[in-house]
């Protein structure tokens, strides 16, 4: 189908096709006889090089022109342009997901700014692949699948599309849809698990989730023995370096025929040495069969001769397509996936960012491409020029950020990059050499520890910050549109400068805005940050106000695009996220309570009862004391919020709180002996529960059960501090009096040494729990004094840290009061408080003796000084 020309930039394609003739003067870019190298490596691996050579000849002799490419490669695009300017096919077959040709008009639109990506996503509501419940927490939750097909200015696929639109020739996407490859992989793994003997694969069955990422061709390269040997031979680190060496550097000196020949030799050798037993190769073969079928079908349907056809596919496919048997397309299942175009970014595209796909340094190669296409200069060492520019720019940027670099460092880095390239048999430096040279010259220490920021800056600069944009003719994703519209309702525009919002939740308009902000926040777009309010710090509760910061993030559209499968509106997407997260963490009562708060904040009240049910179940199932107390605190907060909003849901929450309280009580004995790193949390949580028991009288929490739990835990506990907390908790809820505490302490002092040693921590626990209520109790006060006075020195030293911690819990005012009490206990009179105390006669006499001695010593020093001065004269 010939795409209609809508708004293509014709000058662009004309510029691209206007390539200079190949410079045939001798140069250093073919110093490596690549064929000889491939021959040598093949010999080492015992591959018949002659067979490979004849295979290449067979492919090149074919009527159909099979053109091997690497995605996002300058060399592939450049060679393709040379081919197109000479060959002028009547139809192009392109490796892109089948039946998506309708997107070509938008991809090639003059308004489009690359990078953009085609996104294929599928939600398996009917569980066709049987992975619901494996990839998702529950069988009722549909698994979601997504695959990206990005395009750059220098992607050969883009070049092919641009050409086809310009020349008004049909272009057919022939790759098997992603979901079909997922199906194959799933079946293979399932067969392995079922132990089917005819499936021989090195992929071991696993109870873990299957890796269903789109198989990138480069992953297959890495599995090949030829490739590994090639890396050794040429001392290259990875596929990108190997590619640069073979094709990218010096591309302007190579004809498309030479490019194709070397590419086919290389890919065939790789293919020959990929282990046959592997599900990845199965998928590749399936795709090739599909492509062969598509080619055959469309050539027949359109009645076009083979010699007028150009097939542009990945190198591994091109090397075998000519002899691949076509599959029956009617046997291939059709999945109703949804395809959309989204704006993309260089960061998202770069493998260095941690994503699996694409080009390691898109910006770097973009610069090379720009020079290649647009430059009229005679000196065409493009890689060298770009590396030089990067050395200067990166050093300048670092200086701006505060690093002490100078032009000398730029010079040194550039020279080092060139020398490294030379040592690595590259005619010009590439990204690897640039990175190594900059780190070598600028990082003064262990590069894993020193100036990490500088290394990150190099990576970010090489990756670049380009963002794509779709044309206005393309119907934006529902989610992006809804996002903008909803902000526009509040007259909010996203700008570069941060905008701060202080929301008063008692006002209706602010409440509506708060709802929207919470929904956006849940999508994790990076534009919105809660600076103060519920959710920021649960203990610092101002439930009437929220503070937000909103700032435009360049990745916003990209992130929204990626979340487009969650829903077509912000509310829908937020709901999906909430549900998914809840199901993943449904056994965690604290998380469920958080989800409940979020549900209220996002005004997704319809979900309230579902979440409430999940929380209800979690409160039964959860055995984690800390999670239960976390949930308890959150439920108390929810209750307060609902009381303001008067939503009539308070009784439901009260029920949950009571249930939660009982669950907590049942778990208290289990935390009688917590690990050291949990004791602080335990003390805080117990205190919260105690406070709630005392203050939330309306809830009528069952004190008897609570007391029973505390008592059981106390009897079971071996830890001094925890025992003190537990006993203190009972005291706070008026289940025991200070006499009981006094008796306990006395009993401890008369017990074995092991128990005596816990007194300090015990008192600490008591004071932590009870604070001022107990410290001023006369009986308690007296017993502590008695303990301190009567225990022996060694024991005292052991008890002292606990006592010190205990008293450090007090506020400054309470501390002063207690000091006063102690002083009075020891005889300080009321009238003497606040006055300076005169030293006794004994003390005075000691001080006098010391004074005399000090005077003697200082006099001696002065005598020495005087003598030296005299001698000097």
């Amino acid at each position: 189908m010939a795409p209609e020309i809508k708004r293509i930039d014709e000058s662009k394609i004309e510029t691209l096709l206007r390539l200079p003739p190949i410079d045939s003067t001798p140069h250093g870019y073919n110093i490596f006889n690549i064929k000889a190298a491939i021959k040598q490596i093949s010999k080492d691996l015992k591959i018949q090089f002659k067979d490979i050579e004849s295979e290449v000849k067979n492919i090149t002799k074919e009527e159909i022109c099979y053109f091997p490419v690497r995605h996002h490669s300058i060399a592939s695009s450049y060679a393709l342009l040379r081919l197109l300017s000479q060959f002028q096919p009547e139809i192009i077959f392109l490796e892109a997901p089948a039946d998506r040709e309708s997107f070509i008009q938008f991809i090639t639109d003059a308004e489009t700014h690359l990078p953009i990506a085609m996104v294929d996503h599928f939600k398996d509501d009917k569980n066709l692949l049987g992975l619901n419940g494996i990839l998702t927490p529950d069988k009722d939750i549909a698994a979601k699948y997504m695959a990206w097909y990005p395009f750059l200015e220098y992607s050969p696929e883009y070049i092919a599309m641009l050409y086809s639109v310009y020349k008004k020739i049909p272009i057919i996407f022939i790759d098997a849809p992603y979901m079909n490859t997922v199906e194959i992989k799933t079946n293979t793994l399932r067969n392995l698990q079922l132990g089917k003997p005819n499936i021989k694969s090195k992929v071991k069955p696993s109870s873990h989730k299957p890796d269903l990422k789109k198989i990138e061709e480069q992953e297959l390269f890495k599995q090949s023995n030829f490739f590994k040997k090639f890396c050794e031979f040429y001392s290259v680190k990875d596929l990108d370096d190997a590619w640069d060496l073979l094709f990218e550097i010096g591309v302007q000196f190579r004809s498309w025929e030479e490019y194709r020949e070397i590419m086919l030799l290389y890919c065939l050798s790789v293919r020959e040495t990929i282990p046959k037993n592997g599900s990845d190769l199965d998928i590749t073969e399936f795709r090739e069969k599909y492509m062969a079928a598509m080619i055959k079908k469309h050539l027949n349907d359109k009645n076009i001769k083979e010699k007028e056809a150009l097939v542009v596919t990945g190198g591994l496919h091109s090397s075998v397509l000519y002899r691949t048997k076509a599959i029956d397309l009617n046997q291939v299942k059709k999945f109703q996936s949804v395809t959309e175009l989204i704006p993309f970014s260089f960061k998202r595209l770069s493998s260095l960012s941690g994503y699996g796909a694409g080009n390691r340094a898109p910006e770097f190669y973009q610069k090379i491409w720009d020079k290649l296409i647009l430059s009229n200069e005679e000196n065409n060492q493009y890689f060298t020029e770009v590396v030089l520019q990067y050395c200067i720019d990166i050093i300048n940027n670092s200086r701006f950020e505060g690093d002490l670099f100078s032009s000398a460092d730029s010079i040194a880095a550039f020279q080092s990059a060139q020398m490294l390239a030379s040592l690595r048999f590259r005619p010009e430096p590439n990204v690897t050499d640039l990175f190594d040279a900059l780190v070598l010259c600028c990082v003064k220490g262990d590069p894993e520890k020193e100036n990490i920021a500088f290394k990150n800056r190099i990576i970010k600069t090489c990756i670049g910050f380009h963002l794509g944009r779709l044309p206005s003719s393309y119907q934006q994703l529902g989610l992006i549109q809804d996002f903008k519209q909803r902000l526009a309702q509040f007259e909010i525009e996203l700008i570069d400068d941060p905008q701060e919002f202080k929301l008063d939740l008692q006002k209706a308009e602010d409440q509506s805005l708060s709802i929207l902000f919470w929904q956006i926040h849940s999508l994790d777009t990076g534009v919105l940050q809660l600076t103060e309010g519920v959710g920021k710090n649960i203990m610092n509760v101002d439930i009437y106000h929220e503070f937000w910061k909103l700032v435009w993030n360049p990745e916003l559209n990209v992130k929204l695009g990626e979340k487009s499968n969650l829903g077509s509106t912000v509310e829908e997407a937020a709901l999906t996220v909430l549900k998914d997260e809840l199901m993943k963490n449904r056994k965690n009562s604290e998380f469920c309570a958080k989800s409940l708060i979020q549900c209220i904040r996002m005004d997704l009240i319809k979900q309230f009862s579902d979440i409430k049910s999940v929380l209800d179940q979690a409160l039964t199932d959860d055995r984690n004391f800390f999670q239960l107390t976390g949930a308890f605190k959150l439920l108390l907060l929810i209750r307060k919020i609902l009381e303001i909003q008067k939503k009539g849901l308070v009784p439901i929450i009260n029920q949950l709180i009571k249930k939660n309280f009982l669950s907590i009580c049942s778990q208290i004995p289990n935390v009688a002996n917590p690990p050291d790193d949990r004791k602080d949390q335990l003390a805080k949580d117990l205190k919260s529960i105690v406070n709630a028991t005392i203050t939330e009288y309306k809830l009528k929490l069952n004190r008897t059960v609570f007391e029973g739990a505390l008592n059981s835990a106390y009897l079971y506990s071996n830890d001094g501090r925890v025992s003190g907390c537990l006993l203190g908790a009972r005291y706070m809820i008026d289940q025991i009096d200070v006499q009981t505490i006094k008796m306990e302490i006395i009993a401890m002092t008369k017990n074995v040494l092991e128990i005596q040693l816990k007194i300090g921590q015990f008192i600490r626990g008591l004071i932590e729990m009870c604070q001022a209520k107990i410290i001023f109790e006369r009986e308690f006060f007296k017993i502590v004094i008695s303990v301190v006075e009567n225990i022996d020195w060694d024991l005292f030293m052991t008890v002292l840290p606990g006592l010190k911690s205990a008293f450090s819990q007090l506020s400054a005012r309470d501390f002063d009061e207690i000091l006063e009490k102690i002083a009075k206990y020891y005889g300080l009179k009321e009238s003497e408080i606040g006055t300076l105390v005169e030293p006794t006669e004994d003390i005075k006499s000691i001080v006098t003796i010391w004074d005399a001695k000090v005077y003697e010593i200082i006099s001696k020093w002065f005598n020495v000084v005087e003598n030296v001065k005299k001698k000097g004269k």
């Binding site: 680190k237 490294l420 220490g445």
Partner: protein, 477 residues
């Protein structure tokens, strides 16, 4: 011993090849000043002779050495240096003093020990070379990292195949960056934990790049400026005043004149003001000698550069001034984490050291395994099975590992039954660990109790090791 009644004038005018063996040897010692005994006995007469010879050489441009220099540059000096040594080797009467065959020599410099490899690489070197370099960067890389390929070496008409053994086991990138730095205007600083091979690498780089690794200054807290720049023969200085004869060049000056690499070990141990002496050397590549006149200075010839090392455990590199740091490229040499590589290094080095002493002890596989495993575990504070325990504070580097094994070999050779057993390992391991910090004894005990006791139940070798180590710890306590 050099004869005092040598006819100096005729000696100076004669062609080197016509000298007798003894005279050649005398010339060798005088020229290189290697042998300390002779240096002490060199009198003013000989010094004059040396100067006369030099003058004669500079005036008589047909001299052999000058011809070679003009023809082939610095590398020929290195070759002729190596050739001389070869000639010495054949002379039996000089056996006792011959550095190559003398059993009194503990350790030969790398350029002498691996002279065949260097010569073979030289003869097959077709790659471009920076000026003043003995080998091209590609060949230097090959020399350091080794090669599967054999190179032919032709000496005196005979050709043999020479294998290039690996000297450094580690990242290729690291070596490439080091070589690139040395070819640039910046100096090279190798940093890392003690025992990671910094000095070793420095020596081999110097041997391959300059054909000489002995332009060496050891940094200490007491290093003075004289040791870096130059010093004087004070007797001559007082007798005759400042003169070139009275000037005693430092390794820096020698390296600059000869266009060779200077090695500075433990640079950061030197006081900062002493370190900063290098700044002008590294920037302007000039060493002025104001005592000999305002216009007297030594310039660096092509091929001159500096390799410094510093360990980051003792005092680190923070004390280098910013101005000096900027003149260096830093390369961090990490501790070897790969057990296979570690084993390879240890095995190679220990075998090497045993050959030097002509030991015939066979070290069984399980002993290597025992040593490398226990070192790695103690270094990381984690057993192979993932059990954690307190890390030893001592340096547990590959170098220590090599020393331990070698000490065990010596022990076995002289006190044992010519067979290394876990007993020797246990004995030396406990000493290695406790020497720096006595508190390590408790950590070693923890390792014994937590890890070795379990392992001992399943393996006889570990059982023996556990038993012996336990004994040693008791004795130490």
């Amino acid at each position: 011993m050099a004869k005092k009644n040598v006819d100096l004038e005729s000696f100076a005018k004669r062609d080197f090849d016509s000298l007798s063996d003894e005279e050649k040897y005398t010339y060798y010692n005088l020229e290189l000043g290697k042998n300390a005994i002779y240096r002490g006995k060199i009198t003013k007469t000989y010094k004059n002779w040396e100067q006369q010879k030099k003058l004669a050489n500079s005036n008589h441009k047909t001299s052999h050495k000058k011809k070679q220099q003009e023809k082939n540059g610095n590398d020929e000096i290195a070759i002729s240096h190596l050739k001389k040594v070869d000639m010495m080797k054949d002379n039996k009467s000089l056996d006792n003093m011959d550095p190559l065959t003398s059993k009194n020599i503990i350790r030969l410099p790398a350029e002498l020990k691996y002279r065949k490899e260097l010569m073979a690489l030289k003869q097959n070197d077709t790659y471009p070379k920076p000026p003043g370099w003995f080998l091209s960067p590609t060949m230097v890389e090959l020399y350091v990292l080794g090669s599967n390929k054999q190179f032919s070496l032709t000496t005196n008409g005979k050709t043999e195949k020479v294998s290039i053994t690996p000297k450094f086991f580690g990242s290729k990138d690291l070596i490439q960056k080091s070589i690139v730095t040395l070819a640039s205007r910046r100096a090279l600083m190798l940093i890392g934990e003690p025992g990671t091979g910094k000095s070793w690498l420095s020596e081999h780089l110097a041997a391959a790049i300059s054909g000489k690794s002995t332009n060496l200054i050891q940094g200490t807290a007491g290093t003075t400026e004289d040791q870096i720049r130059y010093t004087w023969n004070y007797a001559l200085l007082i007798a005759e005043g400042p003169s070139e004869q009275a000037l005693v060049p430092s390794p820096t000056m020698i390296a600059m004149r000869e266009g060779q690499l200077l090695r500075l070990e433990e640079l950061t141990r030197c006081p900062q003001e002493i370190q900063d002496t290098l700044i002008s050397v590294l920037s302007e590549k000039v060493l002025p000698v104001p005592e000999l006149g305002k216009d007297y200075y030594v310039t660096a010839n092509q091929g001159f550069n500096v390799i410094a090392t510093a360990n980051d455990r003792d005092r680190g590199v923070n004390e280098m001034s910013a101005a000096l740091k900027r003149r260096f490229n830093f390369i961090y040499i990490p501790v070897i984490n790969d057990p296979k590589i570690e084993r390879q290094i240890v095995e190679t080095r220990v075998q090497d050291m045993m050959e030097t002493l002509n030991f015939k002890i066979q070290i069984p596989d399980h002993i290597y395994s025992l040593v490398t495993t226990s070192f790695r575990e103690l270094r990381n504070g984690k057993s192979k099975q993932g059990q954690s325990f307190k890390k030893i504070s001592s340096v547990m580097s590959t170098s220590e590992e090599i020393s331990l094994l070698f000490d065990s070999c010596i022990h076995t050779q002289y006190f044992g039954k010519q067979k290394i057993t876990p007993r020797e390992i246990a004995l030396h391991l406990s000493e290695t660990i406790v020497k720096d910090d006595p508190q390590n004894i408790h950590k070693l005990q923890e390792y014994l109790d937590l890890v070795l006791s379990n392992r001992a139940r399943k393996d006889e070798i570990w059982k023996e090791f556990h038993r012996e180590l336990k004994k040693q710890l008791k004795l130490i306590r």
